[in-house]
Symmetry: C2
Subunit: 314 residues, 2 copies
Amino acid sequence: MMNTLVIRVDPERRTWWKQTLQDLIPEVKVVLKDEDEGEYAPSDVKYAVVWNPPNGWLATFPNLKCVASVGAGVSHILKDPNYPRSVPIIRTVSESLRMRMTEYVVLHVLRFHRRLPEIEQAQAERKWVQYIEPLASDVHVGLLGLGNLGAPVAAALNSLGYRVSGWSRRGNAVDGVRVFTGPSGLQELLSEAEVLVCMLPQTPSTENILDGETFSAMPAGSVLINVGRGEHLVEAELLAALDSGHLRGATLDVFREEPLPAENPLWSNPKVLITGHTASAIEPATGGRVIADNLRAFMNGDSVRDIVDIEQGY
Amino acid sequence: MMNTLVIRVDPERRTWWKQTLQDLIPEVKVVLKDEDEGEYAPSDVKYAVVWNPPNGWLATFPNLKCVASVGAGVSHILKDPNYPRSVPIIRTVSESLRMRMTEYVVLHVLRFHRRLPEIEQAQAERKWVQYIEPLASDVHVGLLGLGNLGAPVAAALNSLGYRVSGWSRRGNAVDGVRVFTGPSGLQELLSEAEVLVCMLPQTPSTENILDGETFSAMPAGSVLINVGRGEHLVEAELLAALDSGHLRGATLDVFREEPLPAENPLWSNPKVLITGHTASAIEPATGGRVIADNLRAFMNGDSVRDIVDIEQGY
């Protein structure tokens, strides 16, 4: 009976994950859900590396000691009402995730600020247009969430000159960023946010936070970038705010159902840009190394920095 | 006989320029070429504020003391073989120009790096795609020009994590940037440049620098961003490099003829993005103030930082 680590992630890279984690943690037996069915007993499973496991599945391992999420979010695990809540969860955050998220948000803030959609439209009509937009130092960007990913994004926007405000439960301080907290702080941030970026974790109190009421509280002509979770956004109310012209555009990386179904009206809305949940997708080589390091630290009884507060949900 | 300042700029904002400069420099008489014809004698003109004046025109003012360019470039003045070369030229550079140029280059580097053109194409086909691009820290950006505008751009790219190299005549040092100089330095920079950004001044030695030979020296699949001058680029050789697939794309802000004529094939090339010479267009309010400050310093005999070295051409 050997300590076993079971992997349940997207089919595409499963074999790669198995090989990588087996090489990096040779002292456990690494198996794949499905492919290696029958080669391990549920009672041998001490560790699990997962993305979006079905409800009830993790509860089938009576000796589970620790779960690692292949990503910074853990709502895909905690959504399970049968999750054995005494089992700690480690999320995967790395410098590479922070760098990728920063690249993404900076790109999409600049894309709206420098009017790229309108410029591309003009090019299609062979029209020479000259927009002299306000300087970054006159553009307000509001960030919902100032944690592991939000803080470096805020710093990057700040160094480009943007006027950055942030809202978080903890009110984390970030140099050069006005920090708001609580419901009235949210309203204050929204009232100035020409670009609103959602980087919140998904918890019961943040679900549906991007709704019609939120959009109404933003200035006319503002835009939304959602890199949090699909569950933050009320899609129909976003479409209404875009149709009315109150919002100028939206960039969405996350959706309630992924991949986004082909019949979803967001695909063909000219004011919406869709990316496939890659804003800060883990680059596999780095992700494998970080997960292996975290699990080994846990096995050795060392402290693990990215352990989740299960009661807070992130 | 009053000291006169003559303005010759794009027709659109002429009246605005006249009013603004007259308010800021009340001790001179401000007139517009054309509109105010007959209200001043050529011999009264001591100062000129210009964009792209026709050859020979500035030589018609025998008492001209100083010319201000409405922009950072001065090739639109020095192209004139009759330019009275003992008359100093002041170019207009301001923090706002640097900020706008930085916004533009960062946006367009990220747009290629994060594969926005391919993602937009996928959206048109309702296709969920997931590109996990290399991190910024694995992407080489080569900057041609490391002066007033190049240096802050290099710093911004550097702080996002990019591997930045720069090439300049003077070999200006910028923190975290590998600096090359001379013809062999250029070849070394090109050989690694996955994104090549041209921010050079236009001089006889930089004209046509973006030609087929340069593109061949770049890695396959690389991209070009030209925010220098249209004269840097050999358009036909760019189109050939795009057609062959050696270059993946180009973003062009400047052209030999501006506005870019509707029949130019660049407009409809799907690998080319065209912007209307606005990468770092002067925001008029700031531009007016900077020009007035520079001219007043010149009139008072104070040192003017942005005076041009006419022999070097910038």
